[in-house]
């Protein structure tokens, strides 16, 4: 009987003119979002590959020069996108994907599309993820709002209920029928997604197959939560119009207002310093010493260098840096690099903690909107979330200090104060291997996502419980 109800529901939906329009619009949007996501991914991937190769080549083929000067010449490190970024580009628009690596300076990631685009970009890119997160529930609402309320108004519910159909059977039938109609839209999207992942995209994500399946599961739970909610509201609403108004109100709240409010409130609760505040504080700490630190970091920069100088003279049992068998200037520059690296690590760590705290505050709003846990899980699964970005930022800074140390050591070991001239070439620059980003594994990507997993599953379970409770008291009129 469930199958008969589902079949009837499906037939009535697909024969409805409004549904035809809705499905065409939704399909067009999904196709467009897949196409733009694919093009954006392809374009960024090829630009990044070409740029990284060109910059690595430039690094190696730069004019012969002093290695420290070569470190000033610098290089770029690019964050390659995971394959699933075409589906959900996550925080990529705001976080940046390339870092300029140079001596003496710790730089933030650049190339943030949100900086270059207009205010419209604040609404987010038209990615498949965004389309499914925002428009899929709207489609479900439009298809399901009259499932019970509309039948009650038209009188067919009375007819059906007089036949001895249980409300549970009715709910499951309508759920299946509406799901099948939604599936008409979702299926092409899934097939395109699988096709693109299998054949279409270069680049790699760790465990892309598992990630794809998880994405499917998360979006399925999300769709089910909205399906149950829609059918439950339709069962309790007096009129189809009333059900539609209530559901559209919830949809707007859950997909637009709450996510935006969550982001703003998280920034108010855990504010981040401005770019200039961050650099000013780090620079000042470098010059004046880090409060609460042990050892040389606690000293002002001048005293740190002076202490290191004395230790070095004592170690080599000489009276002047001119008598050292190593190049003191390069040595002192490396002291400052190591000191700044430690200081920046502390401040970047604090900044990272702030970002994660902001994320945690936003995630708590998942109690009010199923979109919030889904969004976080979608980004984490696609490898475009905060964990990925922070791993890139950290590994880039580690790479930078290694690169600078390599160049300074060349100078320290091969020159002295009396004979400081040292010109290096490709054989020296080649000792710095190109930066390579290793994305987190699936379990690493899901760090901190437990609450979101629980929330998304809870939304689905609660909405199902609501729908079953609602139909238990189903009125025929």
């Amino acid at each position: 009987m469930i199958r008969d109800i589902a079949r009837k529901e499906f037939i009535c939906l697909i024969r409805d003119g409004r549904f035809k329009w809705a499905i065409v619009i939704m399909l067009l949007l999904l196709m467009t979002s897949f196409l733009t996501g694919y093009q954006r991914y392809q374009s960024l991937h090829s630009i990044q590959e070409a740029s990284q190769a060109r910059d690595n080549e430039q690094w190696l083929s730069q004019d012969k020069k002093n290695p420290h000067t070569a470190a000033h010449f610098g290089n770029y490190a690019y964050k390659p996108q995971g394959t699933l970024a075409f589906f959900d580009n996550g925080i990529g628009n705001y976080a940046g994907s390339v870092v300029w690596l140079e001596a003496h300076k710790t730089n933030f990631a650049q190339n943030r599309p949100a900086q270059d685009n207009g205010a419209v970009s604040r609404f987010g890119d038209l990615t498949p993820a965004m389309t499914l997160q925002v428009l899929l529930p709207l489609l479900i609402v439009l298809m399901g709002f009259s499932a019970f309320a509309g039948e009650r108004e038209s009188g067919t519910l009375r007819q059906v209920m007089s036949l001895g159909v249980s409300s549970r059977t009715l709910l499951l039938g309508k759920l299946l029928g509406t799901s099948a109609a939604v599936g008409l839209v979702a299926l092409p999207a899934i097939l395109i997604g699988v096709g693109v992942l299998t054949f279409g995209l270069p680049g790699d994500n760790a465990q892309v197959g598992q990630r794809g399946l998880l994405l499917l599961l998360f979006y399925l739970l999300y769709a089910l939560a909205f399906l149950f909610l829609t059918l439950g509201v339709s069962a309790v609403a007096r009129t189809a119009k009333g059900a539609l108004i209530a559901l559209i109100g919830f949809w707007a709240m859950a997909t637009f207002i709450l996510p935006k409010a969550a982001a703003d409130i998280s920034k108010m609760v855990t504010p981040t310093p401005t770019y200039s505040e961050f650099y000013h504080l780090a620079r000042q700490t470098s010059l004046e010493g880090m409060k609460g630190a042990k050892g040389l970091l606690a000293l002002p920069q001048g005293r740190h260098i002076e202490t290191a100088r004395r230790q070095l003279l004592k170690q080599y049992k000489v009276a002047s840096v001119r008598d050292l068998p190593i190049y003191w200037v390069a040595y002192s520059m490396q002291i400052i690099e190591d000191r700044d690296y430690a200081i920046y690590q502390k401040f970047l760590g604090q900044l990272r903690e702030t970002f994660f705290r902001q994320q945690a505050v936003q995630d708590r709003f998942g109690l009010l909107s199923p979109l919030i846990p889904l969004r976080s899980l979608s980004m984490a699964t696609s490898g475009t979330g905060l964990v990925d970005q922070e791993r890139f930022n950290q590994t880039v800074q580690d790479f930078r200090i290694g690169m600078i140390r390599q160049m300074n050591n060349e100078l320290i070991e091969n020159t002295t104060m009396k004979d400081p001239l040292y010109i290096a070439g490709e054989e020296v620059f080649g000792k710095v291997k190109p930066y390579r980003y290793n994305p987190p594994t699936l379990s690493e990507s899901f760090e901190g996502q437990r609450m979101n997993l629980v929330l998304l599953a809870a939304w689905c379970a609660l909405m199902a419980a609501f729908a079953f409770a609602a139909v238990r008291r189903l009125r025929a009129q």
């Binding site: 009987m1 008969d4 009837k8 038209s154 007819q159 059906v160 209920m161 007089s162 036949l163 001895g164």
Partner: protein
């Protein structure tokens, strides 16, 4: 068999049914007459389990509707004043769907013959309900009831708005069903049709069954006279 025992329904201070006692046996057509608000439809709704009585019992084949609502609905068919069907489906599709929900599935020829039996024009069978008149919808409603092979039928002003020819065909169908032992409770304002079709007639007034009579013991004119007398109070 349909039976109401001291059936009572109150809506706040308004009493819709005041302890109704009623029995409709197998092979009987009981026509319930009365003005609007007399409690006729409330009685039907109690048998359908759509409303919960404040007191008493509504029994179908001896089973309490409130105790086993799904079980009792399996034994009855219901034809309302306006049979509402799915407008995006054809008459045939509607019949097949409602028949399956009622627990009976037949081959297409049987569905067509049921619609034919109910007087639906053959060319209309595969047309969408959107283009159906009220009479055509009622005929599909009757076909649904026939397909269910119910032993009791509840009718709530089923001929209201039907043309005389359709009403007459409908009455003939009811008489056929009666001859097969089906218990029928019909709520109606149509005194003529009630006298012509019914086995017994009952007049409801303000939630009470104030008069009952066997239709074969009264003429059309007497039915009308008794009815109007009862409505004076």
């Amino acid at each position: 068999m349909l039976e109401a025992i001291q059936l009572r329904k109150e809506y706040g201070s308004n009493v819709a049914l005041k302890g109704l006692d009623l029995k409709v046996g197998a092979g009987e057509i009981y026509c319930m007459l009365g003005a609007n608000g007399a409690g006729k439809t409330t009685t039907v709704n109690c048998f359908l389990g759509f409303i919960q009585p404040t007191g008493g019992q509504a029994l179908i084949n001896g089973i309490d509707v409130q105790q086993q609502p799904l079980e009792t609905k399996k034994c009855i068919a219901y034809i309302p004043e306006n049979v509402m069907l799915y407008r995006n489906m054809t008459g045939l599709e509607n019949l097949r769907y409602f028949s399956k929900l009622g627990g009976h599935d037949y081959d297409e020829a049987k569905y067509r013959s049921l619609l034919d039996e109910c007087g639906l024009q053959r060319e209309a069978v595969e047309q969408n309900i959107d283009g159906y008149s009220k009479g055509m919808r009622q005929k599909v409603g009757i076909a649904i009831a026939l397909a269910k092979q119910a032993r009791a039928i509840l009718l709530d002003e089923p001929t209201s708005g039907l043309d005389p020819k359709s009403s007459n065909e409908f009455s003939e169908l009811l008489l056929d069903l009666k001859s097969t032992g089906v218990a029928i409770l019909m709520v109606t304002h149509d005194l003529f049709r009630a006298k012509q079709t019914g086995t017994r007639l009952g007049i409801m007034r303000r939630g009470e069954l104030v008069r009952e009579m066997n239709s074969d013991q009264v003429s059309h004119a007497e039915v009308e006279q008794i009815y109007l007398e009862e409505m004076k109070y």
